[in-house]
């Protein structure tokens, strides 16, 4: 069972992750004796400033970036807003944004607001995805124009785990002199990233998706990229983000990035094998089930599976009876009345979209847990299908 809570099988790591014990340990001094302000002139605060600096170095190392390119924020959403709004302010003549139909709400809703709230001052192109969740590079190429201020494309999709070719896309944007932002919240820590070799101008990440606590994020800003801050205030973060630093969490994030680098191989071998085992066995054992998203161009930890003719929330609540935690793209779980915009953009039929379950694993999962889920799921789906007026099994 998952360490930390013996009653829980946690397979919802794309939602949030367990704070690593090593991270907790690294943070503790800053919740107790080391409470100084990093901006203070005295040694007591100055020491804390050094720890923030160390954390910045560790984050930069995981991303293949320079420490000066790392700005700490409060979350992934803040990083996304900061990057996109900065690009629009540094080149106010340009009024066009290129993004995709499957972005996280942090980018999706910001772009919608930029269109509607400004009275359509800004124009947004949303790239389509195919049935496997992949983009069409020709459509992307055609969408870039003289008027495009920024491209914002997620590195990996939170619902399906599908990975977009952001390296190639950033190169294409650079050729046209267009800024490129990527929401890499799901990718960081799961796949190798080396920003110094790429044309990415902005990258967002979020601490709580890689075993750091909630409430801390990072915006990577490539050296030389024009920038206008989102949060005005003090001189913190080289004047790029005002506000006293969330020191404890920043230190925690630094440690989490160190750990992520150490466990990258395990993530892409053992965790991937667990994911594949779960996926293959479930698809084989349960009729009318299917994988959502590209089979290989995908994060090693994510499996999004649809069980036709049953509804996701009902599935999740049955899983909950066994302590199994996952997510669903069904309407009922989102609080809205329509199923996931990602699955709809992929053209997943309603019969399947409402019954989609996302399993997202981490290094803390074990083969015993995976086998327990494999053992429990068929009966859950069967019992709900017996209730379903659409199931003719």
């Amino acid at each position: 069972m998952t360490a930390g809570n013996p009653n829980v099988i946690y397979m919802d790591n794309n939602a949030t992750t367990r704070v690593a014990p090593e991270v907790v340990e690294a943070m503790m001094p800053f919740l107790t004796e080391s409470y100084g302000n990093p901006s203070s002139m005295h040694t007591f605060g100055g020491h804390v400033g050094q720890d923030v600096k160390d954390a910045r170095i560790k984050v930069a190392a995981l991303l293949g970036a320079e420490p000066g390119e790392i700005t700490f924020t409060s979350c992934g959403t803040e990083s996304d807003s900061t990057a996109i709004l900065s690009a629009l302010r540094t080149d106010p003549e340009k009024r066009h944004i290129v993004t995709t139909r499957v972005e996280h709400p942090a980018v999706k809703n910001l772009c919608e607001n930029l269109e509607t709230v400004t009275g359509h001052k800004y124009r947004v192109t949303r790239l389509k995805v195919d049935a496997e969740g992949m983009l069409d590079m020709a459509e992307y190429q055609a969408a870039l124009s003289e008027d495009t201020a920024i491209v914002s494309v997620m590195w990996a999709n939170n619902e399906t785990g599908v990975i977009f070719p952001v390296a190639e896309m950033a190169g294409m944007a650079k050729e046209r002199g267009i800024l490129f932002h990527t929401d890499a919240v799901q990718a960081v820590g799961k796949i190798a990233i080396d920003l110094k070799s790429l044309d990415i101008d902005f990258l967002s990440l979020s601490g709580h998706k890689l075993h750091a606590p909630k409430g801390v994020g990072v915006l990577y800003i490539k050296r030389g990229t024009l920038f206008v801050p989102f949060m005005m205030g003090g001189h913190q973060e080289h004047g790029r983000r005002g506000g006293t630093e969330n020191v404890t969490s920043i230190v925690g994030l630094g440690r989490a990035c160190e750990l992520a680098a150490e466990k990258m191989i395990e993530e892409n071998s053992r965790v991937k094998q667990l994911r594949d085992r779960l996926e293959e066995k479930l698809l084989a054992a349960i009729p009318k089930s299917m994988l959502n998203g590209h089979k290989t161009e995908r994060l090693p930890n994510t499996a999004n599976i649809s069980f036709e003719f049953v509804e996701g929330e009902a599935i999740l609540l049955h899983m909950n009876q066994h302590g199994i935690c996952a997510s669903s793209g069904s309407a009922c779980t989102s609080g809205s009345l329509e199923p996931s915009h990602v699955l709809r953009a992929m053209g997943v039929p309603f019969t399947a979209a409402h019954g989609s379950i996302r399993f997202s694993l981490s290094v803390y999962n074990t083969v015993e847990e995976v086998d327990l889920v494999i053992a429990k799921m068929p009966a859950i789906i069967e019992s709900l299908r017996k209730l379903s007026p659409f199931w003719k099994g």
């Binding site: 009902a314 049955h318 329509e338 007026p389």
Partner: protein, 279 residues
């Protein structure tokens, strides 16, 4: 995470009366896969109008399944007239309450019950006769007005929670606001019709058909230089004769089936069959 009562949990985890009654006295089929929830309710009703058995099949979330399950328990043993009085609030109450965003699940239960009773009695479903306001979920103004009145709804958000209307593309939000305003201020002209009995006397039927032909159909045909005449009504068969330009029109069959028959079915009786006179 939704906060469900123990009663909801209990009905969700061990649902009662699952299945379909063989040769049911009445069937209520509401919702759809696209909408994210659907319920098929079947009733067995004896000669004394008592519901002796009820079964359900539901596609949907925990509260949809629980609402269906508790509904079957509520109606069993009731006289049809008594069962017809059950509202969505009654269903929600029997479950110890539902989260407000989930009230539409209890509304679905009530709609299925209404549909099953209407089916048993051979009545038309009154709610479906309204004008569709929310295209995404196919919700009519009548359903919305009733929900506003019965559950004292006071915002568009509440309307969405109860009826799903406005929960899709959101384009009907303005219409919903107007309906809410009109209903609450008592301005709404629309009154909720009562189910019209299917069995009318032959004379009533002929009179109604004549009325509809005169009022709804003839003006349209006359505009195109044609006309229509009622020849006979034999049971559900309505024999008509087309006149003027319509007579020689090669689309006359389409006119009869797609236009005349559709209108008569809609406004008089769903079982009517319109045919052209041979003479």
């Amino acid at each position: 995470m939704w906060e469900y009562t123990d009663k909801v949990q209990q009905h969700f985890l061990t649902p009662q009366n699952v299945g379909e009654i063989d040769k049911p006295s009445g069937t209520g089929d509401v919702g759809s896969l696209a909408c994210g929830d659907a319920l098929k309710l079947t009733l067995k009703i004896d000669a004394n109008d008592i519901i002796t058995d009820a079964k359900f099949k539901t596609f949907g979330c925990a509260s949809a399944i629980a609402s269906s399950s508790v509904l079957t328990e509520m109606v069993k043993g009731l006289a049809v007239d008594e069962a017809a009085k059950i509202t969505n609030e009654d269903i929600a109450q029997a479950l110890g309450g539902l989260p407000k965003e989930k009230m539409h699940c209890s509304v679905m239960g009530r709609e299925a019950l209404e549909a099953a009773i209407a089916d048993y009695r051979g009545l038309k479903l009154p709610m479906a006769e309204g004008e569709v306001v929310c295209e995404c979920f196919g919700v009519t103004d009548l359903e919305i007005i009733r929900a506003i009145k019965e559950s004292s709804l006071r915002s568009v958000e509440e309307i969405t929670n109860f009826t799903k209307a406005g929960g899709g593309c959101g384009k009907c939000e303005e219409k919903l606001r107007k309906i809410l305003h009109d209903t609450v201020s008592g301005k709404s002209e629309i009154s909720i019709p009562h189910a019209t009995p299917k069995r009318m006397t032959a004379l009533q039927k002929i009179k109604k058909i004549e009325e509809v032909l005169e009022r709804e159909i003839r003006p349209g045909l006359k505009k195109d230089g044609g006309d229509i005449e009622l020849i006979d009504v034999d049971g559900d068969f309505v024999i008509v004769s087309l006149r003027g330009a319509c007579k020689s029109c090669n689309k006359s069959q389409t006119t009869i089936k797609e236009y005349v028959e559709k209108k008569l079915r809609e406004l008089v009786l769903t079982s009517l069959i319109v045919e052209e006179s041979n003479s």
